[in-house]
């Protein structure tokens, strides 16, 4: 076991090792401001932002809730890539002692690191991301067979936490602001495969065409960056096939 002196030395060395953190301050227009943050073991990017807000500059705005990768609120652009900050270790992303933290791209900035997610979630609604069933609370449970083809097809896709990393990373969203984006389309794909849902054709029509799944160029940035390791590209490809089949049958 390390002596008290060694423990103190380690603590001092750790404290003296600092990160140079460039943080976006402002709204659509603004500037990066640099903060010095002590580097600690197992430190996450969210820890860094929290330290700045609590110890250096209480006017810094950012968004978080669960801190454990469940809620999807804390996504930001870290060194140019969208990431969930609560599960991103500084050691993995720091370039030397430098980190740059900005709000999510492809969304308006409310203030500092807080992006306006309205457009992102409005597109879930446009893609008919709501479930429409026939049963009431009085009815029996619906039985969805875990081994069925449709349930297997969305086994990963249903785990989306709505963090917006895919939307922020998507080139097509940047080029075509009407594009629904990977998360909304992924959500639609889960419902298209839900045997209880009754709005299949309306949903396929909602996700079709120039602003829908057919706009995807399969760059796979969404899949590359998804913190949950989901494959929205596969969901979108599934929608393309389902919509094309419906169009050829004259259902759209």
């Amino acid at each position: 076991m390390a002596s008290l002196k060694e423990q103190v030395d380690t603590a001092i060395r750790s404290y003296l090792s600092t990160l140079q953190v460039r943080v976006w301050r402002g709204r659509e227009s603004g500037e990066f401001r640099t903060y010095e943050v002590p580097r600690l073991e197992s430190q996450t990017v969210l820890d860094v932002v929290t330290y700045i807000q609590r110890s250096l500059d209480p006017t810094l705005s950012y968004r978080f809730a669960c801190r454990v990768g469940v809620c999807g609120s804390c996504a930001m652009t870290v060194n140019g890539k969208a990431r969930w900050t609560c599960r991103t270790h500084v050691a993995r992303v720091a370039e030397g002692d430098q980190i740059e933290i900005a709000p999510l791209a492809n969304l308006p900035v409310i203030k500092d690191l807080v992006a306006d997610m309205s457009r992102f979630f409005d597109k879930w609604a446009q893609a008919k991301g709501q479930f429409h069933g026939t049963r009431t609370r009085a009815g029996d449970f619906a039985r969805v067979l875990p081994e069925s083809r449709q349930r297997q097809a969305v086994d990963a896709a249903i785990e989306c936490i709505g963090c917006g990393v895919c939307y922020s990373s998507c080139d097509v969203v940047a080029w075509n602001p009407d594009y629904l984006g990977p998360a909304a389309l992924n959500r639609a794909w889960t419902l298209v495969n839900d045997v209880r849902d009754t709005a299949r054709v309306a949903r396929l029509a909602a996700v079709a065409g120039d602003a829908g799944c057919h706009a995807c160029h399969t760059h796979m940035s969404c899949t590359e960056r998804c913190p949950k390791n989901l494959v929205p590209t596969a969901s979108i490809a599934g929608l393309k096939r389902a919509v094309a089949a419906a169009a050829l049958k004259g259902e759209l």
């Binding site: 075509n176 094309a244 169009a247």
Partner: protein
């Protein structure tokens, strides 16, 4: 343009891409064969004129290009220049017709006249 037409355009572009893949392969193999054997232009024309099979093949090649290129260009212009709407649709339709007419005219010159 309604959604169904947009989807059918996407489907047409995928289908024409499949045709183009095959056509380009056959075309390249034929060209390499012709060049390696040192055929002159006159000798090539002597073999192509009156050949209904090759005329049909290249007519199909041109049709696939005339379908594929304008649909792709429509997306590129829309995403890179922000050009959308009916004017863009008419522009790429005109381009598709022009490509088909120019291409079929060449097929006519090489295989029929």
């Amino acid at each position: 343009m309604n959604t169904r037409t947009q989807v059918l355009l996407w489907t047409a572009q995928r289908a024409s891409a499949a045709v183009l893949g095959l056509c380009v392969l056959i075309h390249l193999v034929t060209m390499i064969y012709a060049v390696k054997n040192g055929l002159t232009a006159a000798e090539v024309l002597g073999r192509t004129r009156g050949n209904t099979g090759w005329a049909a093949f290249y007519a199909l090649f041109v049709a696939a290009i005339a379908v594929h290129a304008p649909i792709g260009l429509r997306t590129i212009l829309s995403e890179m220049l922000g050009w959308r709407g009916a004017a863009l649709d008419f522009f790429v339709l005109a381009l598709g017709i022009a490509l088909a007419l120019w291409g079929w005219r060449a097929v006519w010159g090489v295989f029929v006249v």
